[in-house]
């Protein structure tokens, strides 16, 4: 039955890690702009424009 001790601790730790992740996401303002993040992930930093910048400088 002592496995129960380990299981209880493990389960609380696991749930706790989700809680920490949730708090972190609030802290880093991830709920501030929900539309923007969805668009940003689909945009790539264009390689061509990066190159042209270096040539010019």
């Amino acid at each position: 039955m002592s496995t129960l001790y380990i299981l209880v601790i493990a389960s609380i730790l696991l749930a706790g890690s989700f809680l920490v992740a949730f708090i972190w996401s609030i802290k880093t303002d991830q709920y501030e702009d929900q539309e923007g993040a969805a668009m940003r992930m689909l945009q790539e930093d264009n390689i061509v424009s990066n190159q042209s910048l270096h040539i010019k400088d």
């Binding site: 039955m1 129960l4 209880v8 389960s11 609380i12 749930a15 706790g16 989700f18 809680l19 949730f22 708090i23 609030i26 802290k27 709920y31 501030e32 702009d33 929900q34 539309e35 923007g36 668009m39 940003r40 689909l42 945009q43 264009n46 061509v48 424009s49 990066n50 190159q51 042209s52 910048l53």
Partner: protein, 815 residues
Amino acid sequence: MIDTEPELLTKNKKVKAATLCFHCGTPCVTNTIQIEDKAFCCDGCKLVYEILNQNGLCDYYTLQSHPGLTQIKPVRSDKYAYLDNEEIAGKLYKFTDGVRSIVTFYIPGVHCSSCMWLLEHLHKLNLGITESRLNFTAKEVTIHFNNGEITLRKVVELLVTIGYEPYISLDDAGEKKIKSFNKQRLYKLGIAGFCFGNIMMMSFPEYFGNGLGIEKQYAELFRVLNLILALPVFFYAASEFFITAWKGLQQKLLNIDTPIALAIIITFSRSVYEIATHTGSGYLDSMSGIVFFMLVGRVVQERSYRSISFHRDYKSYFPIAVSVVTSAGLVCRNIQELKEKDVVQLNNDDIIPADAIIVKGNARIDYSFVTGESELVNIKEGKVIYAGGKHVGEQITIQIIKPVAGSYLTSLWNHYAFSKNKVEENRRESVIHLLSKYFTWALLSLAGITAIYWGINDPSKMLQSVTAMLIVACPCALLLSSTFTNANLLRIFSNNGIFLRDASVIEQISAIDHIVFDKTGTLTHGNDDVVTQGSELSEQEKTWVYSVVRSSKHPYSQMLARHFAGTGIVDTTYWLEIPGKGLHAEIEGHKIKVGSKIFAGGDAYQPTDTAAVYVNIDGKVTMFQVLPALRSNVPQIMASLNKNYKLSLLSGDNNRQQKELEPFFSSKNALHFEQKPIDKLNYIEALQKGNEKVMMIGDGLNDAGALQQSNVGVTLADDVNTFTPSCDAIIDARQLRKFPALMRLARRSGLLISMSFGVSLLYNVVGLSLAMQGLMKPVLAAILMPCSTLSIVLIAWGISSLMAYRMGLSVKSAS
């Protein structure tokens, strides 16, 4: 973005082949502005393209087609000169140490992913900018830059050149408002959820007794762990209930949080007692569940619209700085430091910052936002002009006669109507608030009776049954039913184009019996209808008129130019503008006169007011009259509202449209014209004295007083992100047709809440009767609590969605 061909083009075959501007998608009038195969509508758009092309930022055009905003109206080159003034600039910085600075601008033009992409690549356009990040929801761009390499003025001007002019107003110079989301409540929600879940899990063995074969030592361990997990719920997550309850008690008020706080405290202390004395496992699961669900309800209800502001006053309309003429030349000065006798220079489209006298030049002022009067007013040198008006035309010089805060317009904000707190008042009048008062008293007396009964019959059961009762009767179900109904209604309203300040507005709307409308900008919109009288113009004559008026800056000429736009241009052999009279021109031997009645010889016509212009072609006269056009759907909307509400009209404009508007109202007395802002406020107050609940629908600063005084002030906006005066709700003008249906839905909200409240009461009665008899078991409480909560949430959500669906409203979000 959809490239719809504008009406203007389909009407006229000549320009049908016109291409759309590569930058902004506006149809090109001429085909001369081109780069390679790309056509542009104006030099402004071409310039933006060139800048982006040079810097390798043409991906802007691949993400969305025609993502730009038209640049046809150029920005004056010294418009942002005031940002060179360190004192003014200092007020805009979010952070600065003299070397690096961070600044945030609100950019109304942001609308698509291309906008975001470009605004986040500003560092490619200027190396002084180190980082830029756009908050798309709030339309705010935060820019980090090095002061040594680029000035604030240059940053703003860079934004202007790429077509994203920031909106900077006097409001930005004030204290930085915290528009941020309620983070504290989210933290509480997370913690309550975590503790609730774990407590439920560890209470399982208790629910099933020793049937699972759990040994006693473990049962003890689980109870202690539960207690530890319940501590943060009780001391942190539930703190706001205690605080509001305590604040209410201090004012000798029983608010809805009082019985909830009481239930939480009693549940917690009884559980602690049971666990400490090894007599039971307590009700910690129920307690944390209540706290969790209540917090969920509040988070959902506290829906915030980040890019919409409900608390604006004249400050967000006024500019931040003006050019003052001093002995040392032109100086930019903070508008709040303007003193009497200061001499100020105003350019085209500038807003008059304070009441003043014109020293030099003739002003043409648009007071529509301040008074509702839609016609431009011509004011001569030496006359007084009032703050808030917009100057149109050549540069003028004015001398301030009153400080900004003492101006005719701003003094409206000193009226006592602005000192009351509508949010607080709504809460006090709320049905939930009244119910909770009775509920608390009823509960306390029931508890008293139970205590006396058991005190006589079996004192050992007294404490147990009284505490169980208070736990079970917690009005969380009542509160949940209203929070979830309101949360869903708020969501449905916003999906259909009405944004409410908070949930208490729904209840206020449901009680409305009188709706007052403003005219200019509300029932009518910015686009004018041109009414013609006299001889009909041929296609060729239209071309002539357009060619004559297009180079004149007079508003009537521009009105005609807009009316005849796209008809083509012919060369004039002779052209003369006579100020105060009109235009005189000759085309292909035909004499053309455009101007006033006397000048063009239009004596035969009777305009309904002065806003008329006459065209004389070889002695043949036609009169053109401008009338603000009614918004589409207005007749249907008014007819539908007329069934359930009293309607009135308060207009700052003259009565030229009275005939047109009269059919919408039940009596002639309901229409009032030439109303000053304070008259509007007083009219609303008079209605309220007659025990009417009034909704005011307006749009401009001239309605601000009436919006504030009314029970529900609604602002109609063509673009919800532009300036709107302080109000309780904002309607998107494009969705106006849904307004009657939404009013009906709001009226039903009371019924919706009572329905879900009825269900919750059923659970309470069952629970209470068990508790009073001393039969309440932890298992039962554990089952009853989440079941009642979930069913109430589902009922509240389901019925309100169903009702909205049956009224033809969109239930699902559009995006």
